[in-house]
Amino acid sequence: MTMRQRLIALPFGRRRRKSGVVVEATGAGPRVEEGPQIDIAPNDPIVAYFERAGGAVDIETLDLDSPARRALLDAGMKLVVPLISQGELIGLLNLGPRLSEQAYSSEDRKLLENLAAQAAPAVKVAQLVRQQEAEARRRERVEQELRVAQLIQQQFLPKELPELAGWQVSAYYRPAREVGGDFYDFIELPGGKVGIVIGDVTDKGVPAALVMATTRAILRGAASRLDSPGEVLGRVNELLVPDIPPQMFVTCLYGILDPATGRFVYANAGHNVPYVAHRDGVVELRARGMPLGLMPGMSYEEKEAELGSDDVMLLYSDGIDEAHDPDGEMFGFPRLMGAMRTAHATDAVIDNLLGELARFTGRGWEQEDDITLVAVRRTSGRESTFAQQITDMSEMEGAAGDGTVIDEFSVPSETGNERTVIERLADPIARLGIEPSRLERLKTAVAEAVMNAIEHGNKQRQDVPVDVRATTDGEHIRISITDRGGGSELPDPETPDLEAKLAGAQTPRGWGLFLIKNMADEMSVSTDGKHHTVTLTFALKGAADEHTAV
């Protein structure tokens, strides 16, 4: 262009963008500087005008009542060439007066229109790229938040459950992808008593996790000083009210169990009503009280229940009763109570409930809220005492639900028990129709992972169990092997190389992890500092056997 003129391209959009650019052609080369920024509201009539204009527009002679036109004039613009991509106005090429002060010739206009026609698709692409980058950054932030919330939540769940003679205690926690504010806790109290807590913070994510952590700490403090559950909740409420963000509150049940007598004294701050399954039916443990953090000066009714031999008490969060099936129907309290009716005298109340829930929600269910279950059962004396805690993070890992449990059991950490595990799993998995060669690979991988858990994770301490859990979603089998060696390094991180081994540069051993990685379709490792879990995934069927060609 021979004329010395100002050329400004302003991408157009809903939001203000700092993108006006002035290109000034001089003998010394173009000088680029930021130009004035002009906002065009989406409902400005000039948008429709530009979209239909089909070429350069004289802004001075344009007869249109438009805020953008006035802004363009104020900025000293004379000629505007709309940038149109697929019928949509995406930006403007704005020109001030020619430096020669002559009017723009028709040749100038033609040149500018050609330039605009070529620039429009490029500007559109640039806009899309920028949008995508912004979207990716947003998603990254969300993921980061999810991870933080998850970390906080995990940090404040009990590291282990109390072992009470004559009682079986089990707890299950499965966060939803967007972590809610569920929590549970067991507090050791004088005289062998134990405080039992279950709660749920409204809201999700990091704010809920922080309030959960605070509530838990305050409650522990109050429980160590006060004997009455009602007073404890009252105290927690007083301390929480001034600090809790508005619109947030905490539902919470707190009770004190005397394992020697089976007496359970409790108070409830608006949390789901616990159930107790007796021989002759299920009862609700009702007690009045407002959720924590809503208003000061609340008092909490205190009640008492007696747990006899074989009685089971269930505490739970609304993640289970408010779960929906594919038709939008809610799991609801009647189903929960129904499941409890059969819970009397079983030591697998949580397994039964989860099975019931899985049948209800069906395959591929995306868990809506955290699910927390705490079951306390008084044994009739013949059975063993146990404390079982499951924290299932599968939903967090983006898995499409947990599927059906094939089997779940523990073996002592004794070499040779890896065979026990694969022999126990082989038949039920074979019945799912897995290809025989895949079953062989599964057996090898699982045996190796169990061996690692026994030898490296649990250091062959026979009293320390290796937990095995096998699930299926109908297409895959997922097997989790958990040891108590959380945080310990995985064995043989070095990739085995036969030549190096034959030359004595590597130990002859160290094939375990290599076999697992090659036999399983997927392997993931997680730890909570105490436990260490290896999860192996196998497709039931595969198109090509990619492992045979090496």
Binding site: T415, E448, M451, P496, L498, L502, P508, H547, V550
Partner: protein
Amino acid sequence: MQEPKVTMEVRKADGGAVIDIVGEVTAACEDVLTDAFNQATDQGAKAVVFNFAGLEYMNSSGIGLLVTLLVRANRNGQQICAVGLNDHYRQIFELTRLDEAIGIHEHERDALAAAGV
């Protein structure tokens, strides 16, 4: 320590030796395997054929033991071959590249012939 759940019979065959493995090849069978290999070596076998037709289970520790034997065999100038491997363990041999150091054959006579004895 675990009891070995395996027997390994050593047979003489055409200048080599065949070791018939019945049971499990795991860390527990280290002594049995070493004894069998020593016996074959003492007989002057230049080729040692492991017959895995009776193999019920082999794990990474078992593979480690085979690698140890391979090192010894290389030092002695002996060949190690394998027969009777099923598809799964044959795949593992391929994956670990043991098949490049241990010749895999269908029949004993092929194995002994390939070993050049």
